[in-house]
Symmetry: C2
Subunit: 363 residues, 2 copies
């Protein structure tokens, strides 16, 4: 196996955002100056030849809230779109403590050594608030971050879930255009983020742990039915028997679910990210799924549905935000909500009164 760092195909690639080698004195100013010099053509050509420095800078444009940056970013994305799509997109979710980072590091390193080019992204709208959020601390992926074949990008921290999800999805386009054939999207399985992640990946993996006695605590109801497969992590040491028993339980439980649209029967595998056992069995599950769904046409169908989903989701968010983020409305909404809760007015009349006010404000 050729180690990618020694493979001249990847020579010159700089890992991560590409800013780490810039002078540390006011890196922002330096970065801005450098960015301003680049045209859409330069970004696109750089990305298409796999230049990870330029890829990282283009992703920074995607994440920027400046209109000027967004304009360039959207042009770059549009130009990259025809070169996107040629990858396996794997979503990974699980409660904090399930070992997502260690799992991604273990699996990711193995895949890089197989010659795969891996981009690791995240959706975590809380990452600005909570320190130690997913991928926020890249030192947690020490080994993987030294792989020349790996591009690790923490969750964009700005804004709403919708905004964060959009940025991650657009980043996938650029990564694929840059030649990454494997995309992992990490998310925490406790909020709405996993729905967003699920809507941009081909395979949605739920990472579980046993041995805590309440292994399902914290996982939102509904996530198990989203999963295309389950990996029972931390199957090591004194935990092996419990993990193997859990595998059987999950198998039986999953068989009781209505069959998913893909026709694929989800199942569970055990693995240990620390002992590095079973991790490739989990990957085999993903590959089998991809093969299976490409055969039966579901793979393309799901991607098509996802593209539509994001168009409509974006429209819907914008329409609703116009109403809910209107400052005059905010106060009225909370007053009306109180009246509904006190049975003074029906939910429907309350809604229509608010809509009438909004219509008057808009015209």
């Amino acid at each position: 196996m050729v180690h990618p760092e020694n493979d001249k195909q990847y020579k010159g690639l700089i890992v991560n955002e590409g800013v780490k080698n810039l002078p540390q004195v006011n890196p922002y100013a330096t970065f801005r100056r450098q960015k301003r010099e680049l045209s859409v053509d330069e970004y696109v050509n750089g990305i298409l030849r796999g230049d990870i420095t330029l890829l990282g800078q283009a992703v920074t444009l995607i994440e920027s809230s400046l209109a000027k940056d967004q304009e360039i970013a959207q042009k770059v994305i549009e130009r990259c779109l025809p070169y996107s799509g040629n990858s396996v997109r794997l979503g990974i979710t699980g409660v904090p403590g399930a070992g997502k980072s260690t799992f991604i590091e273990a699996l990711g390193t193995m895949l890089c050594h197989q010659g795969k080019r891996l981009a690791v992204l995240a959706i975590d709208p809380s990452s600005e608030r909570s320190k130690g959020s997913i991928l926020g601390d890249k030192t947690r992926m020490n080994e993987l971050s030294t792989e020349a074949n790996a591009f690790i990008r923490p969750s964009p921290s700005a804004g709403s879930l919708g905004g964060v999800a959009r940025k991650t999805r657009e980043t996938i386009v650029l990564c694929e255009a840059a030649g990454f054939d494997t995309i992992m999207v990490e998310t925490v399985g406790v909020g709405q983020s996993e729905t967003a992640a699920h809507s941009m990946v081909d395979f949605f993996l739920l990472l579980q742990v046993t041995g805590t006695g309440d292994e399902l605590q914290g996982i939102k109801r509904g996530i198990m039915e989203m999963a295309d497969g389950i990996a029972i992590n931390k199957c090591d040491g004194s935990n092996i028997e419990r993990a193997q028993a859990a595998k059987v339980s999950f198998k039986n439980a999953l068989a009781l679910f209505p069959p998913p649209e893909s026709g694929w029967q989800p199942y569970a595998e055990t693995c240990s990210s620390i002992d590095k056992t079973g991790v490739l069995k989990v990957w085999k599950m993903v590959e089998d799924y991809i093969h299976f769904t490409k055969e039966n046409g579901y793979f393309d169908h799901r991607r098509t549905q996802q593209a539509k989903y994001w168009m409509y989701e974006t429209i819907n968010s914008a329409l609703l935000n116009g109403f809910y983020q209107n400052q005059t409305m905010e106060l009225l909404i909370s007053q009306m909500e109180q009246d509904v809760l006190n049975n003074k007015i029906s939910s429907f009349i309350a809604a229509h009164k608010l809509l009438e006010t909004y219509a008057r404000l808009s015209h």
Copy 2:
């Protein structure tokens, strides 16, 4: 046990919509004439004294699409709201063939004989299109429909799911104000209707059958996680063993789900609506749940959340419908969707272009 038909407390109640005793010559004209004579006060007073003829006529106003009728209906609802809420609201879902009607008839008749006053409603936006839809054919509930304590109302057939759901929820308010202490909302478990039903009931029951070999076919993924309990119907004849085995399987599967917010652990019961066995065990499950959630405060919490949900759901639908039902937009949307699917434009840019056009049209 006093049969409610012989109990003078219920004397004078006319079952169902109250129009069945009207002359059959142009019943619509007759009905319109009679309705026009009534004031909001007359409706409200009639409902509050339990007059089922007037209740049925008020529900017809709720279902009417005439602005004039809606105006009266909304005033009646507002006046009835303070008298609503004092009932057990049970949602019942299951695929066609699960035996929902027979189950409701069996359980409903038993409850009426216990002196309960039962309203049976439905949410089925397809009822206009498909003949033989749920509750559409009331002859299917022959026995129950002769109970003086039962008010059976088919799904309003007009319009969207949102419209149908609104009408059903408003009908619940009137039924409760009229003294009905048990509300059943029937829905088919194959579309979006069950989310609507789930959002207006205290207990959501999933009716399952075994013995077909593919008992879960047709049930939408996610419904099992919505259920507060499962009734395995048709546990009779040669099917008893299979049904009992299914009860164990479901118990194990449900235990693997994350615990629901209510703190209640859903489980499965077997029953036969034909042999009338186990049906009251299912009702016992509902009663235990009500007791449990009233104790821990979840009962009131859920109703509060539901009232909020319907306010916001109504607002959201109206905002989105303005966009999607705009005739100019419809064509543009489908063109843009094609461009997205052909990778000519990103989902997000497509969305923003459509939103810009819509903003221009609206001003």
